[in-house]
């Protein structure tokens, strides 16, 4: 179901990495496997690797790739720190809020960060030293939500209502949501009738919105702010038909979603979990089901390299456990 595509910010990220890693990515391009690249993982004192089609390929010190290389590339803590410094455009403090949550966002690409934490006044406040980076390459797969769009066409957008995408991490929730948002804002069919909605993307971690995915359509983006706050703002000022947000779950977010839903806004969101029963154990999500804010649940699963999407009616499925 999922095909890979190129993400625009990746070139900027590559410029900030050591040349050996750029050579390894170049090697991947030459071998025609670049479309399978999903992550670049850098670790101080350990192997540096690329995740390609789910496999970890180690980078050698001459920029070659392999599952087992003779002389692997080893970066020290200073090199990882320098990369973080560059990723923050030389102003680490200006990314403090992101680093507090364990990542840096750049051009729609999220870079996960690990290291020795910094605690100020009892609160986690970022990192003193950096050990590991996970550069996740987002993919715009225009067809990722096609199955759901066919379901919308068949059943009508009114009946489908709010959509919750559920899967464990790494199964393509954000890719699915991006494709869905792109089609909802760009044009889709509901009961055979072509329509387009005003979509507001709440992109706290700046990873949903990719310029190439939203070239056409009625889409507004609010980014780098807490989800609950953003939902309130865009409800008040943008009057969207849909609000799209990633990785919901907290009580505060659930409250904000409920408040917006009462004003007639429909939500499309993602949540970590194995399925509808799993996520309905979370208090915030359970309350959203109870208030019928999400009528449709899409469970994503991965069999080998094949992604599948199971569409469920939340009311019918949920009634087994929720009440």
């Amino acid at each position: 179901m999922f095909k890979t595509a190129y993400a625009s910010g990746f070139d900027n990220i590559l410029k900030q990495l050591p040349t050996v890693i750029c050579s390894a990515v170049g090697e991947l391009k030459k071998s025609g496997k670049f479309s399978g690249l999903s992550e670049i993982r850098l670790r101080a004192g350990m192997y540096q690797s690329l995740t390609v089609n789910g496999e970890n390929l180690i980078i050698s010190d001459d920029g070659k790739l392999g599952k087992n290389v003779l002389s692997p590339l080893i970066l020290d803590e200073k090199a990882i720190g320098d990369i973080v410094f560059k990723m923050c455009s030389g102003s680490v403090y200006s990314h403090a809020e992101e680093l507090k949550k364990g990542y840096i966002s750049q051009s729609g690409i999220r870079i996960g960060v690990c290291g020795k934490g910094l605690v100020k006044d009892g609160d986690p406040s970022g990192f003193l030293k950096y050990n590991s980076l996970n550069i996740r390459l987002p993919h715009h797969v225009a067809s990722a939500a096609d199955e759901l769009l066919r379901y919308i066409d068949k059943n009508g957008i009114e009946k489908v209502g709010g959509i919750l995408v559920v899967s464990p991490p790494g199964y393509g929730k954000t890719t699915f949501l991006r494709a869905l948002a792109s089609r909802l804002s760009g044009g889709f069919y509901s009961l055979g009738k072509f329509m387009a909605s005003r979509v507001c993307i709440v992109d706290e971690r700046e990873e949903i919105y990719l310029p190439e995915a939203f070239e056409k359509g009625f889409c507004d983006v609010i980014s780098a702010l807490p989800k609950a706050y953003s939902i309130e703002i865009c409800t008040r000022v943008m009057a969207p038909d849909y609000i799209v947000c990633d990785e919901i779950g907290s009580d505060e977010e659930a409250e904000a979603i409920c408040a917006s839903a009462t004003r007639g806004i429909t939500f499309a969101a993602t949540c970590h979990g194995n399925g509808i029963e799993d996520v309905s154990l979370k208090k915030g999500i359970r309350s959203l089901f109870e208030r019928k804010i999400f009528n449709t649940v899409c469970e994503l699963s991965l069999n080998g390299r094949e992604h599948t999407c199971i569409i469920k009616n939340a009311e019918r499925e949920g009634s087994i456990r929720i009440c």
């Binding site: 455009s89 030389g90 200006s94 990192f127």
Partner: protein
């Protein structure tokens, strides 16, 4: 006639040299003030809204730092431009070794501060250190500038008297 013209030329050269040295000293003073202003501006912009350094540099303006090309280099440099410029070309911009070392040390640390509050504290520390140093040498510099100018004029007058 030739002697008078020669005496006038020599006298003018002596005066201008005095003024040239005096202007050089005044520019070094202005550059030191410019760097102090830059650190103060960085502090204000960080405390106002965590503004990243590249944006701070592009919005900062100072007559002497514009004239000597420092700000141009800073705006067109990479993410560690301040530190790189100061380590490579610091002597061109700041004459006093102690102030130069303070600015190099500051430029190497400011971007790596994990929190805005750390950045503000760092700025405050270096503002105080640079101000202390400047207050110690400023009177001397001003006297040197004035003396150079006066000496140039006196030398010029002396040449005129001697030759005419």
């Amino acid at each position: 006639m030739l002697r008078i013209i020669g005496a006038l030329v020599l006298s003018a050269a002596a005066c201008l040299y005095g003024f040239f040295i005096s202007t050089g000293i005044k520019r070094k003073i202005a550059a030191e003030d410019g760097f102090l202003m830059l650190i103060t501006y960085i502090k204000i912009m960080i405390s106002a809204g965590n503004m990243p350094l590249n944006k701070i540099y592009s919005s900062f303006s100072d007559g002497e730092l514009e004239r000597n090309g420092f700000l141009n280099d800073l705006r067109n440099g990479g993410c560690n431009a301040f530190y790189e410029i100061m380590t490579k070309k610091g002597t061109e911009y700041i004459a006093d070794r102690e102030i130069r070392e303070l600015i190099v040390s500051f430029s190497g640390q400011i971007g790596a501060c994990p929190l805005a509050s750390d950045g503000v504290r760092l700025c405050e520390k270096y503002i105080s250190l640079v101000e202390n140093r400047i207050s110690g040498i400023r009177e001397n510099d001003k006297t040197r500038a004035l003396l150079s100018k006066k000496l140039g004029i006196i030398a010029g007058a002396f040449i005129l008297v001697m030759f005419i």
